[in-house]
Symmetry: C2
Subunit: 548 residues, 2 copies
């Protein structure tokens, strides 16, 4: 047995409560190395030796490891446990103290107590919904009177600094389109006052950008969306502000005597707010985006109040948080508490492109933009870098990297305003459609980047931010219908979100899996293929692409 | 190369800041499997491929793994990194995405940003100090007027419910003894009003038990201790209260109409506060200790105010927190913030007997009672279950299980009021003395259980709670002198606390190690042994036991 491969520790993502009396345990072992794994468990205060055992299930495998899991019921909410592993040649026991050949009596793993306050709870409403990301300047122009000067014509190729006049009124006008598509959540990139088209350089956290509308229009958007059972998420940019933010301007004007000087990291005075800035910025020297010192108590309070304000004031349903990984964990803990105090089922999504476990411990975010998942999807469907086995291993590894509690909310995306579009990255439309099929039948909260559903193309930013094609002539109707059908499927089977997922079949580029009792077979190759599928009773088959 | 053994994840205890611009990385690999490990790193926003490399150092080894570590300097406070490993037959690269044979370009590990608010800081004063645990009823009787009725005679064998009359005045009387011994911190088991001798069943969190003294005497104790540069830590019991606690009595009296009913988990009314209790208790059915529902906001506020009160009111230097692992993490986060707001260098120690990483993430405790370390020490010195190699591996594994930030504060103990005494567990006095030598030359904050230094014996509770032997005839003077010398050594070399520790030599039961440049050789066998020691320039040798 490869003992060095065996891993468990009483912490995320290996041990965590999934209910008031339920503890989920995950044991990792080398792939195909173990014949069985069982866990012995009992009340921490019961007599040593009184532990009972239950078999664990091999739930998933990545390229190197098998993951054995079990959910224990504990009346007393406190568990002492250890593992018994066998590969049919050797039997070993595994406890907090390490490995032993005899059943261990002390040094056992301990989950001391399932505290109600430590339970992770996410909004019930996320199940079965599909999210839709809107870049407001490019989605729909509903009010020509508020267009910024020098707007390009709808449909022209966008440059980094182009404006097109899209606005909140435009979104309201298209809510019926979104409702018809089946969308359950819209997420808008920033809408607060700012000089740019993307508005990630906030000038005023309390005003809607006049080119997008005003507070009343936002209120109407939210209430109209809610009337259609569509939730609304806004984008909060708290890592940095724009250079026009009043506090930064005060420091520019008053230098070291400004009461706001500690909201920023100014290296010397006077402030040089242009090229070669003498203050810390977002990324490297982006002088239009001064980095905010979120550990400053006054600033922290200011920003968290912004988070509270828009939930209370216009009833939004959550926040997507920009560059969330460069802000301290304590800020997010307080942010979560304060926002959830106003709206307990608000949904909080962080922008974290890489390993995000440190933010998904239950005390900070409900979810992240799941870019590592997107990478796996592109490697299989777009780039052809991995086959079905490799793909299955990648997504399995990503599931097991997190607690199952957060699976239903993970925002699985094929693209965003920060990436090239999925269709452009795929060699053909069929591959992009298959990626969508996978996205919509995989655990989590699928997010569609506006226009992907009608077959819009676009390379890296700014090309991925083209204006929405409302002319039906320019839309891929077949793809749109597929999306509509998939979104509906997800509504009908909301527990597709949860993660009762298993691999069914892998053969070359054919990948079959079962999620919530629904078997999906994806042929990601160029040929027709005959398969023999086992271990699953098929009641009815549907070819999703052809709807036969 | 055993790839399954290789582990790193951008989280504790594998990646964490140790300074505003310093990131420590730990890579685990199978023992003796890797020839070298280097890390490539750069600014997250710099050009891909611009990463530079530095070699990692094999810092420690346990029974299965080697741990390679490095501390990186990052001007930008944000790091993208990946590893390059070689066993001289094979070269592999390791990134967030997994292993590759070519240098990876994407899917790299990312430490996004070292936020000042996320930095762990512990009191500077812990370095070089030795802690001393006092069970007040048994340490010294300084005031006979406040003795509880039915006190046994000092020196008699204690039973579970015996009282002996020790008190705070007695501790004040003996501060000179402690100062002479070199003690830098005293930790008192609970002193608040309670009917028991141990007082873990608090009746009133705001009163000193009259048998121990009163608030003024506690104030005098703290100020007299401070005058001798001795810090004072109190024991806070917030997991449960005593049955006489006013809120519980209110529920007993008024049942479901009590405003305090949600401070407890009462299964049915009326409350049956005796054998076979109908409410949740500490452990199993300990009816004198009703479990407190710390997620109740009013109770939470009540208890945290207790934490604040005694710091503000009598200037104590920290808290040791009883059954800390059965209270929710959020409670402890708030507790830490509120206590540190009053006294930033207060020291917070949780009682956690098992794996404690989840409480030692920087947001909750500064330290825990390090019982797993005690187990390793006993296995080597008392039980003879492991040899020097096994012992070295055990303590190395325990170090690597935590971030190096918390090493200096970990409360390393040979025993406590909850265990048999070290001398009783050892086969002879020499072994107990060697254990003390190890304790006092190992990283962390050593804690002496009252009387261990004079050679007191005692089996499991209540026998380990005998009265202190003040008659010098009954004291082991040689042991006391050794302790005095070791405590002084630690004062002279405060960086013994830090963890710049390496194994020097292991041979049978001889264990040699170097801590902060000080080499220690321990012969834990029954024979005289000749050794050849390498790799260390010896300036001066001292036989600590014989002081030659």
């Amino acid at each position: 047995m490869n003992r060095e491969a065996i891993y468990h520790r009483t912490m995320l993502p290996f041990a965590y409560p999934v209910g008031e009396h339920e503890l989920r345990l995950v044991l990792r072992a080398a792939k195909d190395d173990i014949y069985f794994s069982e866990v012995f468990y009992g009340d921490r205060y019961a007599e040593p030796g009184s532990e009972v055992s239950t078999l664990m299930r091999k739930e998933a495998s990545d390229s190197l490891f098998d993951y054995y899991t079990v959910t224990l019921y504990t009346e007393e909410k406190r568990v002492r446990y250890f593992f018994h592993l066998s590969d049919r040649r050797e039997d070993i026991w595994y406890s907090e103290k390490g490995f032993s050949v005899a059943r261990p009596k002390e040094g056992l793993f301990q989950y001391p107590y399932i505290c109600p306050a430590d339970l992770f709870s996410e909004p019930e409403w996320i199940r079965g919904r599909t999210m839709y990301q809107i870049f407001p300047d490019r989605f729909c122009n509903g009010d020509r009177d508020n267009d910024p000067e020098g707007c390009l014509k709808w449909g022209e190729t966008p440059k980094a600094d182009s404006f097109f006049g899209g606005d909140l009124k435009g979104i309201i006008d298209r809510l019926d389109y979104l409702a018809d598509l089946g969308i359950g959540v819209i997420y808008l990139t920033p809408i607060f006052k700012s000089p740019s088209n993307h508005k990630y350089d906030t000038a005023d956290y309390y005003s809607i950008d006049p080119a997008f509308g005003d507070r009343d229009i936002l209120k109407r958007l939210v209430s109209e969306a809610h009337r259609r059972d569509i939730k609304v998420i806004l984008d909060g940019v708290f890592n940095h502000c724009g250079k026009d933010f009043f506090a930064f301007q005060d420091v520019v004007k008053h230098g070291a005597s400004s009461p706001y000087k500690d909201w920023f990291n100014i290296h010397s005075f006077p402030v040089r707010a242009g090229k070669d800035p003498n203050y810390e910025t977002f990324a490297s020297g982006v002088y239009t985006m001064p980095k905010l010192m979120t550990h400053n108590p006054e600033l922290r309070e200011y920003l968290i109040k912004v988070g509270e304000h828009w939930v209370r004031e216009v009833d939004i349903d959550g926040w997507r948080l920009d560059v969330a990984n460069e802000i301290d964990h304590d800020f997010w803990r307080e942010f979560r508490k304060r926002v959830k105090a106003i709206k307990p089922d608000a949904f909080i999504i962080g922008e974290v492109w890489h390993d995000s476990l440190e933010w998904l411990r239950g005390d900070q975010f409900d979810s992240v933009m799941n870019y590592p998942w997107r990478e796996a999807v592109l490697d299989f469907f777009a780039r052809g870098e991995i086959d079905a086995v490799g793909f299955d291993e990648r997504v399995a590894g990503l599931r097991m990297a997190h607690s199952s509690n957060i699976w239903p909310g993970l925002v699985n995306l094929l693209g965003s305003h920060d990436t090239a579009r999925v269709l452009t990255l795929c060699s053909d439309r069929r591959r992009a459609a298959l990626a969508a099929v996978f996205q919509m039948t995989y655990p989590g909260l699928p997010m569609i980047y506006y226009g992907d559903e009608i077959g819009m193309e676009g390379g890296d930013d700014p090309d991925c931010r083209r204006t929405f094609i409302w002319d039906e002539e320019g839309q891929d109707n077949k793809l749109l219908n597929l999306y509509r059908q998939l979104i509906k499927l997800r509504r009908i089977f909301p527990h597709l979100s949860d993660g009762d997922y298993r691999t069914w079949h892998t053969e070359g580029n054919v990948y079959a899996y079962i999620n919530d009792g629904i078997g999906v077979v994806i042929n990601n190759s160029d040929e027709d293929i005959s398969l023999r599928l086992d271990n699953f009773t098929i009641h009815r088959t549907v070819d999703i692409l052809s709807r036969k």
